[in-house]
């Protein structure tokens, strides 16, 4: 019999999540696909597929290839643009109780401002995740995310435009992720999420060419978990704002690693592909872990690492 009921709630900016488990942008569409498999209202939050000002076809296929314990993707931010998002995807999202956070992407600073300005007029959005870290777009995007000054500047500009939680998504493809995270905090971000995918490549030795049409892609899945955990460890010690951990979470134990490393919340991404119910299993595991280890609230995980 448990002595207490652990409190899984967390706060990001002005918003309270019912638990620290969310699904990563690009792996969960706009929610309706996975609603067929479980009640997605049980999630703490849902990060939508990236939304850009105009429709994007993305990269030619093949845009996915499996790698040892991972996948390499070069989707290229395929989406119908912010206007179609508001018209076609937002109505379903606003029916959800889970926190809906829109991932915003672009190739120049103005793109991010345009998307956020349009979404500010809409109900039901509980935050923005700013994608400054996608390795699959030819210009902008990644180049913003590797430049601390650019990160701070764009965060400041977005901060002036919204009171909603502003989360900056960080790339691991930098020398010092903590300094980029610091720039996001300085710019007024409510949280950072890390890590996005790692730049990678697969070559077909029979055809003597890269497997992906885009040649390179972003690596995700279990193979990158140690990189994600290390990034969260470094970044959470450099910042006072929350860190959302991403990268290779395939089990409840993986999620706990991130919480012990210093994350306030986590995102489940590629793991959804092999097990659509993974997020629910992780919520149960965390609850059980907290009961067994007498951890009262999520914030208490941070002090536990020896």
């Amino acid at each position: 019999m448990s002595a207490f009921e652990p409190d899984l709630r967390i706060t990001i900016g002005t918003e309270e999540w019912q638990n620290p488990i969310s699904t990563a942008s690009g792996t969960f569409g706009f929610g309706n696909e996975y609603q067929d498999y479980f009640d997605i209202n049980q999630l703490g939050a849902l990060f939508t597929k990236a939304v850009t000002p105009l429709p994007r076809f993305g990269n030619p296929t093949p845009r996915l290839v499996e790698t040892p314990s991972g996948i390499l993707n070069a989707i290229g931010l395929t989406n119908e643009g912010v206007d179609a998002f508001i018209e076609k995807k937002l109505p379903f999202l606003t029916t959800l109780q889970t926190e809906v956070i829109v991932n915003v992407a672009g190739s120049k600073e103005e793109d991010y401002l345009t998307v956020v300005d349009k979404l500010e007029t809409c109900q039901g959005i509980k935050g923005y995740e700013i994608n400054l870290s996608c390795p699959n777009v030819k210009s902008g995007c990644l180049s913003f995310g590797t430049d601390a000054f650019a990160v701070e500047t764009i965060t400041q500009k977005l901060r002036k435009r919204t009171k909603r939680p502003l989360i900056i998504k960080l790339t691991p493809n930098v020398t010092d992720i903590a300094s980029i995270a610091q720039a996001a905090q300085n710019g007024g971000a409510d949280a950072v999420s890390c890590i996005n995918t790692l730049l990678g490549m697969v070559i077909d030795i029979k055809k003597k060419r890269p497997v992906l049409a885009n040649k390179t892609g972003g690596l995700s899945g279990p193979a990158i978990k140690p990189v994600g955990v290390a990034a969260v460890y470094k970044v959470s010690r450099a910042l006072t704002i929350p860190v959302i951990g991403i990268g290779g979470i395939n089990s409840g134990a993986d999620a706990v690693e991130y919480l012990l490393a210093g994350a306030t919340a986590v995102q489940v991404g590629t793991g959804n592909f092999s097990d659509p119910l993974l997020s629910l299993k992780i919520i149960s595991f965390i609850k059980e872990y907290m009961i067994e280890n007498k951890i009262e609230k999520i914030a208490d995980f941070k002090g536990l690492l020896q």
Partner: protein
């Protein structure tokens, strides 16, 4: 659509590289011809993506589904090693289906106003969904003829479903080692042009075969519906990995969600082989 476990009842080679797996389910499924399921490989393997395969049969009484798959890479090689009695995790009844005279889809209603006969064409391991389609149409007494092409006799599956079809099935071999010598398109060209005004073609096979079929179908003005294939991530429409180019304004569709079955006229057919071929 569901996430469930199934028990392997059969997993045997039926020709060089082709295998048939039959799975038994606790609950009933409701797959339609053209749809697919997605199989999780052993958790301890380094391969994290599920593998999608079209249904080749479904026995509603026994609650058993079959697939025909090709040992092509590491994942399918691992699948061939699974034994009868073992359990697998599956996502079931994914994607759309070939238009059927019994469904209420607008495309089907429009098609069957004029179409009185269907030619079901398969290349290699594409046989699976066409067998299922043949079975479904025959159950509903809709005239259909299966044309199955293989490279050579080594690839001709040893399954009872192919032998009793007789006048409802034509077998083609590229090398002439059995049946009609030539490709499935060569065979279709032997059909009297007069029949095409009331006939349509459904197909599954390699992209070059389907590209040729598309051009043939255009030349005889017959509708053609194809089962497309693309590397899949989530298999449920969330990740945008498996898109094909379409001629409409949007410019793309998901093989796992809007597909795998497409009217060939909806698709952009690039003349030179794409890297995914």
């Amino acid at each position: 659509m569901s996430l469930c476990e199934a028990t392997i009842k059969e997993n045997r080679p039926i020709s060089v590289d082709f295998y048939r797996m039959t799975l038994s389910f606790e609950n009933s499924l409701s797959p339609l011809a053209g749809q697919f399921l997605s199989i999780q490989l052993p958790l301890q393997s380094k391969m994290i993506l599920r593998r999608p395969f079209a249904y080749s049969a479904y026995d509603a009484k026994k609650k058993e589904a079959s697939i025909i798959y090709q040992k092509r890479g590491e994942g399918t090689a691992l699948l061939t090693q699974h034994k009868v009695g073992e359990k697998l995790s599956l996502l079931t009844d994914l994607g759309n289906s070939f238009p059927l005279p019994t469904d209420n889809q607008p495309t089907s209603k429009e098609l069957f106003k004029t179409i009185k006969k269907l030619y079901l064409v398969s290349g290699g391991v594409g046989l699976g969904p066409m067998l299922f389609t043949h079975y479904t149409l025959t159950q509903h007494s809709f005239p259909n003829h299966l044309i199955a092409g293989f490279r050579s006799k080594n690839y001709l599956p040893d399954i009872k479903e192919l032998s009793p079809l007789k006048d409802k099935c034509s077998l083609c071999s590229d090398d002439g080692s059995f049946g009609f010598k030539g490709t499935v398109v060569d065979f279709l060209k032997t059909i009297d042009n007069a029949y095409w005004s009331e006939s349509a073609i459904y197909a599954c096979g390699p992209i070059p075969m389907m590209r040729s079929l598309h051009h043939f179908a255009q030349s005889v003005k017959a509708p053609l519906f194809v089962s497309m294939e693309e590397m899949m991530g989530c298999a449920v429409g969330a990740c945008m990995g498996c898109i094909v180019k379409t001629v409409d304004e949007k410019g793309y569709a998901r093989v796992c969600k809007e597909g795998p079955i497409f009217d060939s006229r909806q698709l952009v057919w690039e003349e030179s082989p794409t890297p995914s071929n």
